[in-house]
Symmetry: C2
Subunit: 233 residues, 2 copies
């Protein structure tokens, strides 16, 4: 049974790393005393070791030991035997390139679909969608494919941002960008505001957290969905 | 002799399409009574025909006839014989995919490097850089390559946006994204604010327009450059 949390962000404004997710993480990883951290998105270019240390410091609060995927001689085997996974945010292009080049995307997908608990934040949530094509990130590297794990039958736009009133800037709004995605694709998109996350238990998918989410379906006007709602399109 | 304008945006806040660029366009295309419009970036999914009509309506003010590249039976030959080019904004991934799949990127590069005047706005300016990897756009399609024309020996970030004070949003700032680009690449990046453009005459490259630009070099602190300055790094 799938057991997944895909969060918009790791850190809320004014908060510390992952603190608002502690109850969620405790429930998600109940029974696991050790999980694997996937550090490949490297926010700000942080090293794999340093990024893993940050994650480990948080998970110590939940009594869970964290080991970085980059430290295993055979990462595919480590994933197949993993008791749980956390993929942190950063640059989605970098994360997806690394997972494909190491041939780990499909291995991770299989492990999670078999029931290993999975937490993603930001870029780590993007890879839970059908593909990474609704990321906000800059294409700083060229991945061999944009396909991701498809843990949910839609795409995510983490850090979803409403238009800022009065801003005299002519760059596209987030909503405009997602609508452009739908001129070329027919995959539903969940605009996940900061403080929100998607909870997957088996085939049951709900919106959790504080804010509403914005739903984009091809050929239809975007609309709001309340926290607690089933995400079925 | 290269004769190029790469503008941050087509439209200023409160203005109409390209109006602020009329004197620039008139000088750039002096002597050309007909230019080719490249509509492939399709902002908001607009059709090639409609997008070309918008460009044609503006260029009529300068006495210049506009024909869309998509209307030629042999677009490569049309480019080789073109008297001038304008590539409009929209989605850079869509634009670059189309130019590569039709094998036109290199043909256009050669025509412009031989001296045909070129105007880009937004996505059309991104393709004047070394590669498209500092675009702000969403990866709505998968191009066969991120390489672009290299009309200038650096990359551009159009619609460059300074951090918005007081915004309680934890998504990366533009500066953070460009710094992440430099963890993986060593190409200089010009953050081109709206109202600014890059003027190339032969090997002479200057910043023009109203705002300063923000310059990002690998391993160095970002800094401001005044309009009128040579862009040499």
């Amino acid at each position: 049974m799938k057991n997944v949390v895909l969060a918009s962000t790791s850190t809320l404004y004014g908060g510390t790393y992952l603190d608002y997710l502690l109850p969620v993480v405790t429930e998600l990883f109940a029974g696991a005393d050790e999980i694997i951290f996937i550090p490949y998105a490297r926010p700000g270019g942080i090293s794999h070791d340093d990024y893993t240390a940050n994650a480990a410091a948080f998970f110590a609060n939940a009594g869970i030991y964290v080991r970085g995927l980059h430290t295993f001689d055979n990462p595919a085997e480590a994933i197949a035997q993993g008791k749980g996974f956390f993929t942190g945010g950063g640059n989605t292009f970098l994360l997806v390139k690394q997972l494909h080049e190491l041939q780990l995307m499909h291995v991770l997908e299989q492990a999670v679909k078999k029931g290993a608990p999975y937490l993603g934040t930001s870029a780590g949530s993007n890879i839970g969608g059908v593909n990474m094509q609704t990321t906000n990130d800059m294409p700083i590297v060229y991945p061999p494919s944009f396909a991701t794990m498809g843990l949910v039958p839609f795409n995510l736009n983490p850090h979803y941002l409403d238009p800022i009133p009065g801003l005299p800037h002519m760059g596209e709004t987030r909503e405009t960008r997602i609508k452009e995605f739908h001129t070329q694709n027919d995959i539903p998109v969940v605009g996940l505001r900061e403080g929100g996350w998607i909870r997957v238990k088996g085939e049951h998918i709900t919106l959790e957290g504080t804010p509403d989410a914005r739903i984009f379906l091809p050929g239809k006007a975007a609309y709001e969905t309340k926290t607690g709602a089933d995400l079925v399109f």
